[in-house]
């Protein structure tokens, strides 16, 4: 297998883009990534997206974007893995290069959620769950996470208020990211007073519905040029768990996240303590906590201690969501996994602006779909 490097990144601001559709958002992110990489074309385009069929009425999305971005007649298709689609698209691009099939490939994660009303988007997001035995009974994306959070509070004897540092940290980091949807800090008091969506989850536990597209260009070693600032994909892995939450051996262990992270650490010979930052899938504060535990930063039931002790801030032992995360940058679902990789690459290149960490040599990114039924994990190295 060949080593794979990220040589270009692009991203649109995340938000409610009433004047931009799928084709415009995609073309902007793709154009930026191509310009950053200094290439005019690619061998293939892989698109990470979850909802274009049920919210936008647009399938054959990769062809649409290849056409819109002037990449015809490149190989192009969509990769769907629920909210992990953006990570999966990068994984697909890297596999093609590692295998020697292609030399230069572009992955774009994209989601255009504001074309649908709230109940349509909620029904679309619920398709990540088991349609026969969860979604058809009214279990939404947020409700399934709420069941995990309720059980976490019960088993570990803690309160929802103890999850506040995750949201406060994300919003603090969002202030310094000019692509973030939310650029205002919040306080623990704001978090505690937030209205309930699905108890015990409230608005400020949850990432927002929004639009955005992010793209990366990956290539093999001999296509790296003198002007590039290459970021190596040191390891990548995807893993799955039961689609129905109740069927899991332990609903408080994200099995897919744990196994994919373990494979990344084993393949790279690295350990959690050697990561300088972690772009976690903080769609809900409970998922942030479970991700920290799954990836080995904390033991089972101990993630809140990291939050309480300030380990997750920019000067802590494992800086989390350094560009605002899903919570504050925003969670255009099928794009979020690609945003994580774009943001981690910028940190490793020393180009993260106001949010630049003092030391950023290795980053862990993890994109999770279907409340932990699928996870795609990457370790990136400067």
């Amino acid at each position: 297998m060949r080593d794979v490097f990220i040589i270009g990144v692009g991203q649109t601001p995340v938000g409610e883009h009433w004047d931009l559709g799928l084709r415009e958002l995609g073309a902007v992110a793709i154009g930026q990534a191509l310009a950053d990489a200094g290439v005019e074309g690619v061998d293939a385009l892989y698109v990470g997206n979850m909802l274009s069929g049920c919210v936008n009425g647009q399938e054959n999305l990769a062809t649409l974007l290849a056409d819109a971005a002037g990449l015809l007649p490149a190989e192009a298709f969509k990769v769907e893995a629920a909210c992990a689609s953006g990570g999966a698209a990068v994984r697909a691009a890297a596999l093609a290069v590692a295998a020697g099939v292609h030399d230069v490939v572009l992955a774009v994660g994209i989601e255009k959620m504001t074309d649908g009303v709230a109940s349509t988007v909620a029904a679309g997001l619920a398709t990540a769950a088991d349609q026969d035995y969860e979604a058809s009974h009214g279990f939404s994306f947020v409700a399934l996470s709420a069941l995990m959070m309720r059980r976490y509070l019960y088993e570990h004897g803690c309160s929802r208020e103890e999850f506040a540092p995750f949201a406060v940290n994300a919003h603090k980091n969002g202030v310094g990211n000019d692509h973030a949807m939310f650029r205002e800090p919040i306080s623990a008091g704001d978090f505690n007073r937030s209205p309930v969506v699905a108890s015990p989850i409230a608005v400020l536990d949850a990432a927002p519905v929004c639009d955005g597209a992010a793209a990366v260009v990956v290539c093999c070693r001999d296509r790296i040029g003198p002007l590039h600032e290459p970021v190596r994909i040191a390891a990548a892995a995807a893993a799955t768990d039961t689609i129905a939450l109740g069927s899991r051996e332990d609903i408080l262990t994200l099995g897919s996240a744990k196994r994919s992270a373990e494979r990344c650490f084993a393949a790279s010979g690295l350990a959690p303590g050697q990561m300088d930052l972690f772009e976690a899938h903080d769609a809900f504060t409970i998922i942030t906590a479970l991700s920290l535990e799954a990836c080995g930063f904390a033991g089972r039931g101990e993630a809140l201690r990291l939050a309480r002790e300030g380990c997750i801030s920019a000067d802590g032992c494992i800086p989390l969501s350094t560009a605002g995360g899903l919570k504050a940058r925003g969670h255009p679902v099928g794009a979020s996994g690609t945003y994580q990789i774009v943001e981690a690459s910028l940190q490793l290149r020393g180009r993260a602006g106001a949010n630049q960490l003092a030391k950023a040599r290795r980053a862990l990114t993890q994109s999770i779909g279907g409340h932990g039924s699928i996870a795609v994990t990457h370790i990136l190295e400067a």
Binding site: A118, S119, T120, A122, A123, L125, A126, D130, Q131, D132, Y133, E134, A135, S136, H137, G138, F139, S140, V142, A143, L144, A146, L147, M148, R150, R151, Y154, P195, V196, V197, A198, S199, P200, I201, A244, L245, G246, S247, I251
Partner: protein
């Protein structure tokens, strides 16, 4: 919910019918094509008792198309072992606690489907203990 899907699921939805593995004896719900525990294929239909306890719960203030909030959702741990997702009924949110004994009832599980028929299926309510007649 699409009519063919509802037709396919009727024994699970109406009778809480799962499966019993003839090789390892595991009981599973929802039904699968093989045993989740031992991967054997010899599965028998097995109607679950419908008795269980609340493993986790949530009250939804927002809902997907076809559902009218607020409503109550739970993971229910059945006596036979499987944990299933189902709505709770005949109970107030403040009365619910983890470990509470519940039992299956058949109720309408969503508003009218887009094709104009009602979808019935299992929900769970606090268990009503009937005293044996002497």
């Amino acid at each position: 919910m699409q009519l063919p899907r509802f037709h396919r699921l009727r024994s699970a939805y109406y009778r809480l019918e799962g499966q019993l593995c003839s090789v390892c004896g595991a009981v599973q719900f929802p039904p699968r094509t093989s045993c989740a525990a031992c991967r054997a294929g010899g599965l028998e239909r097995h109607r679950l008792s419908g008795r269980g306890s609340v493993f986790s719960y949530s009250e939804a203030a927002q809902a997907p198309e076809g559902f009218a909030p607020p409503y109550l959702m739970a993971l229910v741990k059945l006596e036979e072992g499987p944990v299933i997702a189902a709505q709770l009924t005949d109970v107030e949110p403040e009365e619910i606690e983890i470990g509470m004994a519940v039992e299956m009832v058949t109720r309408r599980i969503r508003e009218m489907s887009p094709q104009g028929y009602l979808v019935y299926g299992y929900k769970f309510r606090p268990r009503i203990e009937l005293e044996a007649e002497g």
